[in-house]
Symmetry: C2
Subunit: 255 residues, 2 copies
DNA sequence: ACAATAGTGTCTGTTAGACAATATCAT
DNA sequence: ATGATATTGTCTAACAGACACTATTGT
């Protein structure tokens, strides 16, 4: 009809142990393409938009189908529609970005339950290594793998990373990486991993407390060989993120 | 093919004299629909995406064709794809927002030159009056007209307004409303009109000067019955707006 | 006691905002 | 001189960042 195919893709972020240092690092799951164009290369999870589905629902569905993860946050990123982004056909991609907690990553689920995704063709990569096209001979040391990506997905990952890092500094988006309760140390480590720099514990505490987004539960975490930290939870009456008049944008999987 | 039609629409902002007070106010041109759905209602300028055109080019083209204005700035806003936004068919709209200077508004051009748009069916409205669905009997005073809009265009205008107001506070986006040179008073009046509140001239000056986005030309404006103000221009070496890795997004009409 | 992390206090430099004071034009 | 706007100066409160200090646990 229109000569244009409409697709959705999602940049999924999780904090996972770095393959070398072991410290938490922003990571992205990619899917290996099993057909042309770009057969064999790694690409963002996605698929075609079902005419009977909203864009957000399409993103949430394709994301689960291909990678098995259940996001705790899903937001539209940008729509890419350059003429030459897919060889031979005109594809416009509405791209989303998502956050997942470690417990929402379906690690090779039992074949019996859940949607069967091809675990062989899904792999996690260090986000910062994907930001620019793979130039294996540029002399710079590569931590983690930095494959060449299909389509314009390098640029998309770079933009999603920028958006996440910008947003973590002025919103409570970090809770997309955390469970229902957490210590300030855990919250700070999330920020440190996202921003890739260390933060002063004292100043971080004051900032977060002044923001009013968290509430002390009154409980403490015992067992550490140090003073027991307080437990906090996010203030559910405050909005997670200020997306303006669009409000919260959840795939129905928020928890 | 896909069962989905892909459209572009644009929220165009200009500063025009308020119909009552005469002071500059954020205004938006709308186009009266000449066919169903929503025949007779006012709607954002737009059209179908040409498979041979990029999204930005489609937005720029349809915008000129329907309203006759030439934007000085054009940026993607959001993509709207709810199932029920167009009765009877599935339409996904990639929405842009644009800024135009007064001299870029083609006021009923001579029939001989320029693309012939239907001037009878284009009208300018006060932006803030369009933000919420028209409720003519809610008792609140309405300045300017506040028509009921087609589709979900009320929500789109509200979101575009939020984006513009957010962005004017941390970027040099205001130059989209100004010519190549300007006084600090003119620049401040642009900010005041966009934000709809008065700003302290002294503090405004310091903020703008500290931002490094403007440069004094060395010239002054004579003729006023007061101290002659300096002329400034924007520093073209500095980026207009920080759109992250996406960079500048111009329709080719920037000047 | 000691190591380790949690949490508090204090200082400094920067910035936003209110507002006073001075400068320079046209009339 | 007067009115009008431009431009500079000053003061205060709020805030971010650096860093010293105290608190509380397990060993």
């Amino acid at each position: 009809m229109s000569g244009i195919r409409l697709a959705v893709s999602t940049v999924i972020f999780a904090l996972r142990p770095h393959p070398e240092s072991g410290r938490p690092v922003l990571s992205i799951p990619l899917v290996r393409r099993t057909r042309d164009p770009f057969q064999g290369l790694w690409a963002l999870p996605g698929g075609w938009v079902d005419p009977a589905e909203s864009l957000t629902a399409s993103a949430g569905r394709t994301l689960v189908e291909t990678t098995g993860v259940r996001p705790s946050y899903l937001e539209q990123l940008y729509t890419f529609g350059a003429l030459d982004r897919s060889p031979g056909e005109r594809v416009v991609s509405v791209v989303y970005w998502a956050l997942v907690r470690p417990d929402q990553i379906g690690e090779r689920p039992a074949p019996s339950k859940g949607p069967a995704f091809d675990a062989e063709n899904v792999a996690w990569f260090v986000a910062d290594a994907l930001g620019s096209p793979g130039t294996p001979d540029d002399g710079a040391p590569r931590t983690g793998d930095a494959p060449r990506l299909a389509f314009d997905h390098h640029a998309i990952v770079t933009y999603a990373l920028w958006r996440l890092r910008t947003k973590v500094e002025y919103s409570a988006i970090a809770q997309g990486f955390l469970g229902s309760t957490f210590t300030l140390s855990e919250l700070r480590q999330v920020h440190e991993a996202v921003l890739d720099r260390e933060l002063d514990p004292a100043n971080f505490r004051r900032q977060v407390e002044a923001s009013g987004t968290i509430v002390a539960t009154g409980e403490h975490v015992l067992g550490g060989r140090h003073r027991p930290p307080r437990l906090y939870r996010f203030d559910t009456s405050a909005p997670l993120v200020d997306n303006g008049p669009l409000g919260e944008l959840t795939p129905g999987e928020m928890s």
